[in-house]
Amino acid sequence: MNCGYCGKIARINLTTGKVTVEALELDVARNYIGGRGLNMRRLYDEIPAKLPGMHPDNKLFFAVSPLVATLVPGAGRFNVSAKSPQTGILGDSNAGGFFGAELKFAGFDQLIIEGQSAKPVYIYIHNDQIELRDARHIWGQDIWETQRIILQELRDARVQVAAIGLAAENGVKFAGIFANLVRAAARTGMGAVMGVKNVKAIAVRGTKPVRIAHPQEFAALLQQIDKAIYAHNEFPTRALMGTTKLVHALNEAGCLATRHFQTGRFAEAEAVSGEALAETVKIKSKACFSCTIPCSRFFHITQGRFAGLQSEGPEFEGLAGFSSRVGVTDLASSLKAVDLCNRYGIDVISTSEMVSFVMELYEQGIISSKEADGLDLAWGNVDTVLTLIEKMAKREGFGDILADGVKEAASKIGRGSEKYAFHVKGLELFQADPRGLKAYALGYAVASRGGDHLRSEPSFEFSNDAAAGEALYGHADAAFRLKYKGKGRVVKHYEEWCVLSDCLEICKNTVVNMEIINFDLAAQLMAAATGQDFSGAGMQQICERVVNLERAFNVREGITRKDDTLPNRFTHEPLPADSGPSSGSVVELEPMLDEYYQARGWDVTTGIPTAQTLERLGLDRELADLKKLGFVDE
């Protein structure tokens, strides 16, 4: 295994300080590709059922893929996985930037971090050398300062750093791991796991080559991909605005999360739109490692209260999260809120849910200002938004109640607040109202890491192509976002496409969003890179295997159909009349779930994979485990 893969895994035991380099097993690589797939295999094998996410025995897995650090556009990402302290099921997140590629250049396909250091450390990887360095002087610093100190200390500005901030140190359960300052592996609390282990950062520098088995074929495929990117309808928009294009796009569609999903249209969307950002504070576009789509942006605020603020981003999730979702009508204030989250190292999606959740509780008369440390919880109060972020990150006062996520916070507050806690399986939802996007709604409900859009991204429902809906997914309605039939098959397909993206560590922009890299093209890339045979059908089956492995992991934790659900508002309260084209819509979840389980080969009553499905995918050990636990009949 000397092409594409490095063939090596580093196992770092923080308790003993021992580092072991292991060979990447051929069969594991073949059956799970890399990235998310590789991590899920380890997660299932090495984390016992019911282990609390904050337990020192939890492990952190970082993985890249055979295509990372090559010139495939967007192939510079990494996945980080563990048992989630936030949700109690599988935890998994990924990020772009340059860290993933550097890890590959250092010669590793995967890092396994286990145990707990007695004192704060950072891990320094320089090619084959891995050392644990004292981090007591960095503990307590924010993400930006941490990176600055480490780069100065190592005297090498080419070192790539993935770090945690103050929030993770304080055990905030939606704390993430941030690479290149703002590239956030933010979901499901992977930073909190790193914090428990007393690891402040991982710094990596590599100078090794990545070998390609068939360079000429590989180069031809790269040209084909670049050509498709530049010719794509969406290229100019993504290059100039990135995902911030969605503020206006979703607002006009009537499904922009507004004041905690009370409506789908934000009257002040223009002020906080991607267009306004591009016209007023953006300095330049920026891309991740080897990517030809510069979808990120540097900005600099020069006037007003936040004059001097400079950063990169934000993505749509942060921008809408701290504007429409919480009622803030000022762009600079939204950017400041995102910047605070990035510096403290917390997930903007979860954090914006926490803020909008308490604002709605206040509006409904469930909590008072006094309970919230005297804060004015009215919609759009910028000072309150910024103070709540700080209080959560530091676990101060009322912030401590919120720091475990919305499910836990509602359970502590009680008084009917659970009704307003918008999460699935403990993970908070992003800024598109599921009532206006039925396939996305189903995707949130069944996502293996809890309520999240990046597990499926079923954008086929925006195609409005009835004939394609019928041909590809068995029903014309599959092509329309406000209809629900055919969506089970759509979500199945797009879930597997997202797994492909996450296993190859190629950005979803080029894979599932612009639909340029499909299973066949991925197989050709893998064959050219590794010299092994791959087929499109075989690649999709690998992705289907990963989905089922993840489900088996979650079933082992007690997840069944009852947990594949959505907050009551989305299934029972129609989007109000001011939501334009989406007005009156609710999510017809149950029939979509039936269709999804059937498409997956899972038991429709329980949502558990059948024995036949697990056997077909070669998941025999998982089948035996689920039989032993009584989840699948003998």
Binding site: L240, E252, F316, S459
Partner: protein, 98 residues
Amino acid sequence: MNSPADIEIMVRYLGIIRLLTGRQTDLLTLPAPVSVKDVAAALKQQLPPAVYTEIGRQALLLSAALHQPGIVISWTADADRALQSGNCLTIVTPVTGG
């Protein structure tokens, strides 16, 4: 001066079209009756060819007036759809994954 038979249609640019043209809106005054294809023809005359080409790749919304919620229509399938004075056509980035 407008003729009494003229119709005013507001065209609102969002997304890439707004960034390429540097304009948020254009108020078109066209002789009645006006349909969607008449607006397309007027835009073809006013905009650089590359920008006009991009318009065909965007979503199109028709609303009763500026800043009112709209319905999704198509430049081609709704080409003959009649427009009323004061109507607003919004050209917006299609919703896709992000």
